[in-house]
């Protein structure tokens, strides 16, 4: 039953990847590379593929993006590199994600170890949260020679890579490979350790040269009318449960209503269908012309046989009966279902972390600093897009900033004779 849930779409072969790379125009001052938030440099790695240098392509990806194999699969490329692609002037953009996937799969098959730990500089940093942002910070810092400890609330690392994005889009094996690379590089991960509860920020500050908070928005929002309703489950709770059980869950409903119009809602609805839940209806707040989910996800959800109704908000609930009203026209409908899954956004839990989170579930200012000069934020809780590739970008940027702060001050200290 879980085959449909577990199976990823097939990737390119050596022949077909070359056909796709051959479509690339090898542009001057390539727009795709400028549009990648993490500077993964697609124009550069596609050119390497084109000239038979797949290993070189893997180096370009890996050196710029610690989660290259993951981004290859989950990036909303239509909003970034592929949106910018010049080939659109002829027909359709180069399948940059697909080529990236081929290259990173090759990297794995050829057992390449591209990143190397930097020579120890005697400095330590602590990272709170092992989602994509925390993992990227760890990678950049390790290559620079820092000692890195990551504190993770859950039993496994990866944040939403491990507990959110479904298997058919992002196989867990891939996530494990990527995390393994970072552990091999020297990251020390403390699992089942909630900062602010099992260990305090003050301890981390006392024992490290900097602390990076990358806790993401790991909890689901719940609309007040659904609180304490036994028919209701949250989207991220459901997805985590399914992913952990590799699709083998026993309490599947006969039919379900999903509320929400973002990628998370699409993932929940598609997952339900892939687990053979017969009738799945997704009720979205946005209308299709303002839809939040990516085109790729929306298409996949439709193909999975989900009924999507756009423009409706829930107005009343009675047990397993929910009433929805259209936002603009005079229309109302009531749906009775075995299960109601809420995909109406995630919220940050920053308990005892001493950082300020506003109603947009992020810090109320741009950048990565906090009131405490030793403490930084990054990932979803910093301003900017809430995607994996942006988590990578923010991870790289905060790492550079911290390195500048620490090594900059060390250099000054050296100039005045140091303090040891």
């Amino acid at each position: 039953m879980t085959k449909k849930y577990e199976t990823e779409a097939p990737g390119y072969t050596m022949t077909t990847v070359m056909e796709e790379a051959a479509r690339c125009l090898l542009c001057h001052d390539a727009p795709c590379s400028k549009a990648c938030p993490a500077d993964t440099d697609p124009a550069r790695f596609i050119r390497s593929v084109r000239f038979n240098n797949v290993k070189g392509a893997a180096e370009t990806i890996r050196e710029n993006n610690a989660l290259g194999a993951i981004c290859a699969r989950v990036c909303p490329t239509e909003k970034y590199c592929e949106l910018a692609c010049s080939r659109t002037g002829i027909d359709c953009p180069i399948d940059i994600g697909g080529i990236q996937r081929y290259v990173t799969d090759f990297e794995q098959a050829a057992k390449m170890d591209i990143l190397k730990q930097g020579k120890s500089n005697g400095k330590h940093i602590a990272i709170v949260g092992s989602g994509p942002a925390g993992l990227q910070v760890a990678t950049t810092m390790l290559t620079k020679g820092y000692a890195v400890d990551i504190y993770e609330k859950n039993e496994k690392a990866g944040g939403y890579l491990t507990y959110g994005i479904p298997e058919y889009r992002l196989p867990n094996d891939i996530v494990e490979y990527e995390i393994k690379r970072i552990i091999n590089l020297g990251a020390n991960i403390h699992y089942n350790t909630t900062v602010g509860d099992d260990i305090m920020m003050d301890d981390l500050k006392a024992n490290n040269d900097a602390v990076v908070v990358a806790v993401g928005a790991s909890e689901s929002k719940v609309l007040p009318m659904f609180a304490d309703n036994e028919n209701v489950e949250t989207a991220v709770g459901f997805l985590a449960r399914v992913k952990e059980a590799k699709g083998n869950i026993t309490d599947l409903p006969e039919n379900a209503v999903v509320i929400g119009g973002g990628d998370v809602a699409m993932d929940v609805a598609t997952t339900l269908r892939r687990l053979d839940v017969k009738n799945v209806t997704d009720m979205a707040y946005e209308e299709f012309d303002e839809f939040k989910a990516s085109k790729k996800e929306l298409k996949g959800t439709r193909e999975a046989g989900v009924t999507i109704v756009d423009g409706y908000v829930p107005t009343a609930v009675n047990g397993n009966e929910v009433t929805f009203k259209h936002r603009h026209i005079d229309s109302e409908m009531t749906i009775k279902s075995n299960k109601i899954i809420l995909a109406v956004g995630q919220r940050v839990n920053a308990a005892n972390l001493n950082i300020t989170i506003d109603k947009h579930e992020e810090v109320p200012y741009a950048g990565y600093g906090t009131a405490d000069p030793k403490v930084f934020v990054t990932g979803d809780i910093a301003q900017g897009d809430k995607t994996v590739v942006w988590a990578v970008r923010k991870g790289k940027e905060v790492a550079e900033q911290i390195d500048k702060m620490i090594m900059g001050s060390t250099k000054e200290a050296d100039l005045v004779g140091g303090n040891e």
Binding site: T13, T15, F51, K55, G56, D105, A109
Partner: protein, 423 residues
């Protein structure tokens, strides 16, 4: 990023890597060479410099390309002659390049119409501080019969002009050979006898790539007329490799120093030239198509190849394939290997069936219901045409059998490449 020492020593000169621009428009002036050096090329064979009295007068347009299906630049035809810039300008550029890029290698390509020209040009470029001289004995579209490939096919003239250049300079001399010849060995030997130190090959192959079928002349058309002229790019690589192998096979030339040219575009092409005995590698057409940046993947890919081969210096592989390329009558003809068809990979297109029927031995049986091929081993001769046409790599080398009455153990026969080719 991988780091390996790509440096090579060639005719007593140290090159930071084997990649050079070959003499052509890609190395036509100071700015071009400077940009190429900045992007990683180890040196340049500067655009061929002629004598003052020879006036270059070019046509427009001057190029054509051979395509196949969707692929551009399978081969490239050009009608250019030698440098258009004045002699003084070229000498000035050579000098400035050496001054500003002392570690890069400047090869002066020259061409004269008589012994005096050759000797004088050799002196001039030596005074301009070039590191090496390359004698262009091979351009196939010179407007004078005293120049270019008409000279290169005549061993006596080759020897005479090489001797003239030797008199004019004590720099290392490369003689650039034309492929428009059945056997390159006599011309190469003549050049060495005359005083050359090594061979650069190939220059372009005389060709007509396409016709304008309405105007009824060769492309490119110049005021309604066309000409036979030089062909280069990927399509000439097999010709270049063949000449290089044959040079290194000739008695007494096993260690011949060679600068390999012809269709180099990827690190794999580069490795092939090195394995056949080239120490430096020169490139034009792929630079014209894609720009100097192609050197990045050639260098990086070659480093990965060195890593795979477990070598620290390219010198360890130069010429490594010469000995295992043997005359056709020395090949093992005692066995055949059948194709193996993987039905899980097969998508049922039937291309193998068509090619085997129409181009081989009618040995593939086609199941119309299942749309799947099977090999009839009674008819199959093991030619592997099917393997080459299959679009999904479903056909590979399978069982090896000895031909009736022949000795040998099929298990000892090497059939597959250890490279990861179907990932």
């Amino acid at each position: 990023m991988i780091k390996k020492d790509l440096s090579v020593d060639f005719l007593g000169v140290h090159f930071e890597n084997p990649f050079l621009l070959s003499s052509s428009p890609v190395g036509n002036c100071y700015e071009m060479c400077a940009k190429a050096f900045d992007e990683g090329w180890a040196g340049v064979a500067f655009k061929t410099i002629g004598p003052k009295h020879f006036k270059v007068d070019e046509v427009s347009p001057r190029f054509d390309e051979l395509t196949k299906e969707g692929t551009p630049f399978v081969g490239f035809k050009n009608m250019e002659q030698i440098a258009e810039h004045p002699l003084e300008q070229n000498l000035h550029d050579l000098k400035k390049l050496k001054e500003n890029y002392p570690t890069k290698i400047i090869i002066a390509s020259i061409m004269g119409t008589n012994e005096q020209d050759w000797e004088e040009l050799a002196q001039l470029v030596t005074e301009a501080k070039a590191d090496m001289i390359e004698m262009n004995l091979s351009c196939p579209q010179m407007t004078s019969h005293d120049m270019g490939s008409d000279v290169g096919t005549n061993p006596e003239l080759v020897k005479k002009y090489c001797a003239a250049v030797r008199r004019g300079s004590d720099l290392p001399i490369l003689a650039k050979m034309t492929p428009n010849i059945t056997d390159m060995v006599p011309a190469a030997k003549a050049s060495m006898d005359g005083g050359a130190d090594g061979i650069a090959t190939i220059n372009t192959v005389k060709s007509i790539a396409n016709l304008d079928i309405d105007r009824k002349t060769a492309l490119p058309t110049v005021d309604g007329k066309g000409s036979v002229s030089g062909f280069s790019g990927k399509a000439v690589k097999p010709i270049a490799l063949r000449f290089i192998q044959q040079l290194r096979e000739a008695a007494g030339m096993e260690q011949l120093p060679i600068s390999g040219i012809g269709g180099i575009e990827t690190w794999q092409d580069a490795a092939e030239f090195l394995l056949l005995g080239a120490t430096t590698l020169q490139v034009t057409t792929s630079v014209m198509q894609y720009g100097y940046r192609i050197v990045e993947d050639m260098k990086n890919g070659l480093m990965h190849y060195m890593e795979e081969q477990g070598i620290d210096h390219l010198s360890e592989i130069i010429g490594a394939a010469n000995k295992s390329i043997v005359p056709v009558d020395s090949l093992n003809r005692d066995y055949k290997v059948y194709p193996k068809i993987d039905w899980d990979k097969c998508i049922g297109c039937g291309r193998c069936y068509i090619s085997c029927f129409d181009g081989a031995h009618q040995a593939i049986q086609w199941n119309e219901e299942a749309r799947r091929p099977t090999v009839d081993i009674d008819k199959c001769v093991g030619c592997h045409l099917c393997n080459l046409v299959c679009p999904v790599g479903a056909i590979s080398t399978g069982e090896v059998v000895m031909k009736p009455g022949r000795e040998g153990n099929p298990e000892d026969i090497k059939i597959e490449s250890p490279r990861l080719t179907h990932f």
